[in-house]
């Protein structure tokens, strides 16, 4: 019995995407469990997959979506209509045009998704119990907590004054074990085996935030699982006499019939009735039901952006006759030379596709995270100095570690969520005495914090504690509000611990072979083969104050942590002479005068600060100093650029004023994070060099030449692209569903330790990103678009990788993200579809049938 119940629960819970705690915020696609089915076929009540039609119509008005984009979207979605046209009166109108006319000129009434604030008494009670059970730092731990959630609830529910006496009595007769309780409740509630799955599913949908967190917790902590949770829920139903039937009706398809739509459309276009035309128009419209209208708009919205982006990519043919739908796929080798490849830029690693030409050695190379925010600093650095070459690579630099700073009690898992931490790295101090001193100071902080905590939280102490410290708190409030920068400096001075110099123990965590393997993989993946004298690994993090979502602004490839430990580890590995010797043997020689420097990029201030500066050899001090000056100028320019769209900032103010918002405890918009992210470009930097991508694009460096067997590309597509896809959909759904899949406004957030937030005093754990991450003043700042993955690599190689990896097939075939590729600079773009590659329609090119009107 109980095994069967566990299996049933596991089956219904399979699609639930785990939700990570706030302190290591991992972006997830909240609908990730459904990636196996088509994006458009998801019909969850209360969840919007697109914006509503009026928004798209406004975009058509403003030119953000063109009619050409719409026709392209129609043809992409319904390829059968490509060559189809209809006669109305004396005019011949293409089918795509007809549909576009209906979309833009008739504006059929589309249903709007309204998030219901539905919750029932069982939701309310379960939320209360589960929150107190999971409280990470309880002042009064729940009695019987050790016995598990269900057992603790069962022991206490018989005393719960919130329910009636009879319910309390009923609670005494419940089975002792959670799985028995589920079976007991199902049978007492008269639910047959046939309905059990549906009932369990609905129970899990009741508090989706808590359910998702419990799923994470079961995998990572193990003190609660979905079975325990369902046992409490169903038992509550039982003792409260609440039926488990779901009252909400399934959303009905209120589609207008194609015939009535056709009559209206014909009348609109023709000015009168035309029965013959109406029939053929109806046949066309039937292929595009009203329910699909927002999806067509959404696709057009994405195609417009993708088209603009492709045009900015260097080496894209201007007069792209590739839009010709009947042209067969040309032989790549023939077309490669037809369009003159654009020079990448002066001074960088030469032009695309001509690896054999000798390019001048760059002065400094910067390896930054693929994060769209890196695009800004890379662009400004390159603009400033031609000798700087930049690369994009996953922000953990390929070094998956669990990191603990010297002598500390706990560690962070600084690696992508896809990997498990197997390698523990810590710090080895250069000067043991100063490290000891630092430990002592940290120990004193710890003791004072314990004292203050006791003063605040012991039952009898807080009264006089508030009286004696109130004036200090008041002074702090005034200072932090009116002079945040000074307040931050004071706090830093009070808690300073005089960082002692150290190095990371990466050589203890990985064998030499492992280190060389990681280094080789990284170099091959990002196509780094010619080394500058100074190579900088810049891990990124974000510093803000009073921000529960700070971790969501940190590096996604480092488990929602700043990537500093990984940058330090990577630099240590590449500076290791033994590793270099092995790399040389494997055909990747690193010049002896090349030094790898770790650095930290703060995305609020956009400063790049060197780490482990004491390791810089005297020969490289000048270069490091030069880079420090360059980044200073580049950072100022970038901060001014960002100030244009940061609420409350102004490009006219000094950049330091904008940077100061990181210290401001009242600031809810410390930075825009990855808002706006829309595309992922895999290819050498030359193809985007000099272009302003507006910090919206993930950039992964890649050169097919250095990755002969395609293993690097396979890793890029299956790891960084997948992580970027999670981030993209986190933003997408948080923007479209602030009440259900997003976390709503920060102003009412109420944290439960570091586990998550509630909105207000009670309810479900919030999922996703807060409204302040995606919108300002009621207007979306994040344009919700599914990620456009753009690759420059041999198409056959890409095809082989996609067909080998089920995860990629799901994502691309089911329209969760899209894939566009070209062989090399100058050749034509191809779009990946379920049935293979087809030439990318350049939506800026007016269609030939457009002349018919």
């Amino acid at each position: 019995m109980s095994l069967k119940i566990r299996a049933d629960v596991a089956r219904v819970a399979r699609d639930i995407v785990p939700q990570w705690p706030l302190h290591s915020f991992i972006a997830v696609n909240p609908l990730g469990g459904r990636e196996g089915i088509d994006f458009e076929s998801i019909r969850d009540s209360g969840i919007a997959l697109t914006r509503s039609t009026p928004h798209y119509l406004a975009d058509v008005q403003s030119g953000r979506i063109t009619r050409e984009n719409l026709s392209a979207a129609v043809i992409e979605r319904i390829p059968e209509l490509r060559a189809h046209s209809v006669r109305i009166g004396s005019r011949t109108i293409s089918a795509a045009k007809l549909i576009v006319a209906e979309l833009t000129e008739l504006a059929p009434a589309a249903e709007t998704v309204r998030a219901s604030q539905r919750s029932d008494v069982v939701d309310e009670m379960t939320a209360k119990w589960v929150a107190s059970f999971l409280d990470p730092h309880p002042l009064w731990p729940m009695p019987h907590r050790r016995d598990g959630f269900y057992a603790a609830w069962r022991a206490l529910a018989r005393h719960d004054p919130a329910v009636s006496r009879s319910a309390r009595r009923a609670a005494r007769t419940l089975p002792a074990r959670a799985d028995d309780a589920i079976g007991h409740a199902l049978s007492e509630l008269k639910i047959g085996t046939a309905d059990a799955d549906a009932v369990l599913r609905r129970q899990l949908a009741g508090l989706p935030g808590w359910t998702a967190h419990i799923k994470w917790r079961a995998e990572h902590v193990g003190d609660i699982d979905v079975v325990e949770y369902l046992a409490v829920r169903l038992s509550l139903h039982l003792v409260l006499g609440q039926p488990v039937e779901d009252a909400t009706p399934s959303p009905s398809d209120g589609d207008e019939s194609p015939w009535t739509r056709a009559i209206r459309l014909v009348e609109h276009l023709h000015g009168g009735a035309d029965r013959g035309a109406t029939a053929s128009v109806a046949r066309v419209l039937a292929m595009h039901p009203v329910r699909d209208h927002p999806f067509t708009f959404q696709r057009a919205y994405e195609l417009q952006y993708a088209g603009e982006l492709l045009r900015t990519i260097n080496g894209t043919a201007d007069d792209a006759d590739t839009a010709d739908p009947v042209a067969p796929r040309p032989d790549i080798a023939d077309t490669a030379g037809t369009v003159a490849p654009r020079p990448g830029s002066a001074g960088t690693a030469g032009t695309a596709g001509t690896a054999d030409t000798v390019a001048p050695r760059p002065d400094t190379q910067l390896v930054a995270c693929i994060d769209p925010r890196s695009e800004g600093i890379r662009r400004h650095l390159e603009q400033l100095h031609a000798g700087i070459e930049t690369f994009g690579f996953a922000g953990f630099f390929g070094i998956p570690i669990r990191f603990a700073s010297y002598n500390s009690s706990s560690a962070i898992d600084s690696l992508p969520a896809l990997l498990a931490p197997h390698h523990r790295v810590t710090e080895r101090p250069r000067d043991p005495a100063s490290a000891q001193q630092r430990t002592a100071r940290l120990g004193a902080h710890q003791a004072f914090a314990a004292g203050i905590h006791a003063g605040e939280s012991t039952t009898a102490a807080p009264f006089a504690f508030a009286e004696t410290t109130g004036v200090l708190f008041g002074a702090m409030t005034v200072l932090r509000t009116l002079a945040p920068t000074i307040a931050a400096r004071c706090a830093a001075a009070l808690t300073s611990t005089a960082r002692s110099e150290s190095s990371v123990t990466v050589a203890d965590a990985f064998t030499l072979d492992e280190r060389a393997g990681l280094a080789e993989a990284a170099l091959r993946m990002m196509g780094l083969s010619q080394f500058a004298p100074l190579v900088i690994f810049a891990g990124h993090g974000s510093t803000s104050t009073n921000n529960l979502y700070e971790s969501s602004l940190d590096c996604g490839a480092c488990g929602g942590n700043p990537g500093t430990a990984n940058a330090r580890s990577a630099a240590a590995i590449f500076n290791d002479p033994d590793v270099r010797r092995l790399l040389h043997e494997r055909g990747l020689p690193i010049p002896s005068d090349t030094f790898f420097l770790a650095a930290a990029h703060d995305t609020v201030t956009d400063r790049i600060r060197p780490l482990d500066a004491h390791l810089v050899p005297p020969t490289h001090l000048d270069r490091v100093e030069r880079f420090a000056r360059l980044q200073h100028t580049a950072s100022d320019a970038l901060v001014r650029e960002r100030a244009h769209d940061l609420p409350g900032a102004s490009p006219r103010r000094t950049p330091d004023r904008t940077r100061a918002r990181g210290d401001d405890w009242a600031e809810v918009y410390p930075e825009w994070g990855l808002a706006g992210n829309a595309a992922f470009i895999i290819g050498p930097r030359e193809i985007t060099y000099g272009q302003d991508l507006k910090r919206r694009v993930f950039l992964h460096s890649y050169r097919p030449e250095t990755d002969p067997n395609g293993a690097g590309l396979e890793t890029i597509l299956t790891a960084p692209v997948v992580v970027a896809q999670w981030i993209n959909h986190q933003y997408y759904f948080s923007a479209l569903n602030p009440d259900t899949l997003g976390a709503g406004t920060k102003t009412v957030h109420n944290a439960i330790g570091t586990l998550g937030v509630l909105s207000g005093q009670a309810g479900d754990l919030r999922r996703g990103l807060p409204w302040q991450s995606v919108a300002f003043a009621g207007r979306l700042v994040h344009e919700p678009m599914r990620l456009a993955v753009i690759v420059e690599a041999p198409l056959d190689r890409i095809s082989a990788i996609v067909s080998r990896n089920a995860v990629l097939r799901s994502l691309f075939d089911n329209n969760w993200i899209s894939l566009t590729a070209r062989e090399n600079s100058g050749s034509a773009w191809y779009s990946y579809g379920r049935y293979g590659w087809s030439p990318t329609r350049q939506s800026n090119i007016p269609h030939h049938e457009g002349a018919a009107q």
């Binding site: 009064w140 206490l156 940290l442 003791a447 009286e467 005034v478 439960i752 207000g760």
Partner: protein, 503 residues
């Protein structure tokens, strides 16, 4: 005259700010900044008035006449400074925190209405003006809580608050009506005692109890405690303002009407018992709350219980000092309610706790008892040698807080650095505290509290607090009691949105 000008400036500033909010609804951000600045100017005026009063040694400044007479005495000026100062700072915080929020304008208007009516209330010299300002403050608070009117939890919070405020305000209106009938429209607050003396005993007792009911409702005390925990669906600055400057109005009422309350043993006993019960109840429930703001709510409730309890002891000056210090303390904690994740991250670099030997534990506990006791005793001996019994009872709490804080610090790490820093902190905090308390006693003058309960009564809530702490510490024993109390606490901790049914 300069004094009147300053007083008027302080009084009028928040009304101007509220008016600006109303006029400039379409330029929310600019208006919010202007309103915060105007409130700040009001604070400056009040500070000027305060300095002038101290320098000249005057008792009070009077503004207005008849029923609408304001008497800005020491208490009024201190409270005006607190309310305008906190309101200005919190509004400045909100100019950024609520940036882009469609309800920012609403916040500016209602927060300033609340500030304005609270300033009017603390300065009111007559029963009529106090009552009008009190009701206005209640209405403004309800409007402020309605910042997000479509939110289900906010609606529930407003509903609960309105219901309890109606009961409390009707009590005040009834008491005020009786007093006005007996003493006339322009009855001064200072003359309430004389008027009551001429009233039949039963009626006078009724007035006292009605006034206490009004105070308890506004300060979220048992039996009117159900509203405060339901108010978290309003934005953080609303909570900060409310917890710093509204919920403590109960003590202001008790002090302003002390001549109607302090002479009756029964009324003072009701005040003490309500405060002490809320203190224990809220302290216990707070231990069960998992959410940061929920803990703050119940902490406020307990602190207000402490303040009301002090009133019952007749220690009105101590109550006012508690009110001011707690306002500063709690607003800071609300505004920084988003720092939990950062604090957790900072803890990661801490070393493991060192093993604690028996000798160091004994030393830590010994020092934890001796140092605060010595600091409090000597500070008191230097600044105010004659300590009343009620003050001594409250000072015991100071010693307790010092002992808990110091003991917990030294038990984690007993080193020269921790000992030196924490001794210094405790001694200087105790000194500052004593100086402030003595200053407040001077400022308010002593209110003769004939009916005050015996300070020994404090032992009851203190003992219950310690028992609660023991139950919460998850030791063996008393398992059945613990289960019952935990289940009851949990059910009290979260305001229900749904009526719960049973089979």
């Amino acid at each position: 005259m300069m004094w009147t000008t300053l007083a008027l400036a302080a009084l009028i500033a928040p009304w101007v700010a509220a008016g600006a909010g109303l006029v400039g609804r379409h330029r929310q951000a600019e208006v919010a900044r202007a309103a915060a600045a105007v409130t700040g100017l009001g604070f400056a005026a009040a500070a000027g008035l305060g300095i002038a009063t101290v320098v000249s040694g005057a008792d009070a400044v009077s503004v207005g006449a008849g029923a609408f007479m304001l008497t800005l005495d020491g208490l009024a000026i201190v409270m005006t400074l607190l309310v305008l100062g906190l309101s200005g700072v919190i509004q400045s915080f909100a100019t950024r925190y609520l940036r882009g929020d469609s309800r920012q304008g609403w916040f500016v208007i209602t927060a300033n209405l609340l500030t304005a009516s609270t300033v009017l209330m603390v300065g009111a010299g007559t029963v009529v003006l106090f009552t009008v300002a009190w009701v206005a403050a209640g209405i403004s608070l309800v409007l402020l809580l309605n910042t997000y009117p479509h939110d289900r939890q906010a609606k529930e919070g407003v509903r609960r608050t309105v219901w309890r405020f109606v009961v409390g305000d009707l009590s005040l209106l009834a008491a005020a009506a009786m007093l006005i009938l007996a003493g006339g429209m322009d009855l001064r607050l200072a003359e309430v005692g004389t008027v009551l003396a001429g009233m039949p005993d039963l009626l006078a007792a009724a007035v006292g109890v009605l006034l206490v009911a009004a105070a308890l409702a506004r300060s979220s005390q048992i039996p009117f405690h159900g509203w405060l925990p339901a108010t978290l669906a309003a934005p953080t600055p609303v909570s900060a303002l409310m917890h710093a400057g509204v919920v403590n109005a109960g003590a202001i009422l008790l002090i302003r009407f002390s001549s109607a309350i302090a002479d009756s043993t029964l009324t003072m006993a009701v005040v003490f018992v309500a405060g002490a019960t809320t203190l224990v109840y809220a302290s216990a429930v707070r231990l069960i709350k998992p959410d940061v703001k929920g803990r703050l709510v119940f902490s406020t409730m307990a602190q207000m219980g402490f303040m009301i309890m002090a009133c019952g002891l007749g220690a009105f000056a101590a109550a006012v000092f508690h009110l001011v210090a707690h306002g500063l303390y709690k607003s800071a904690l609300f505004l920084s309610a988003g720092t939990g994740v950062r604090q957790q991250a900072a803890r990661r670099v801490w070393p493991d706790r060192p093993h604690r030997g028996v000798a160091s534990a004994v030393a830590a506990v010994g020092l934890a008892v001796i140092v605060p006791l010595g600091a409090v005793a000597s500070a008191r001996a230097v600044f105010a040698p004659d300590v009343s019994a009620a003050s001594a009872a409250l000072l015991a709490f100071v010693v307790l807080a010092g002992a808990v804080t110091l003991g917990s610090t030294l038990l984690v790490r007993l080193s020269i650095a921790t000992v030196a820093v924490s001794f210094l902190a405790i001694i200087s905090l105790t000194l500052v505290y004593t100086v402030f308390v003595v200053a407040f006693e001077d400022l308010l003058g002593s209110v003769a509290a004939v009916g005050a309960v015996s300070p020994w009564w404090v032992l009851a809530p203190a003992a219950l607090l310690i028992i609660t702490q023991w139950l919460a510490s998850d030791r063996i024993g008393a398992s059945a009691v613990r289960d019952v109390l935990y289940a009851r606490g949990l059910s009290a901790a979260t305001p229900a949105l749904h009526p719960v049914k049973g089979i």
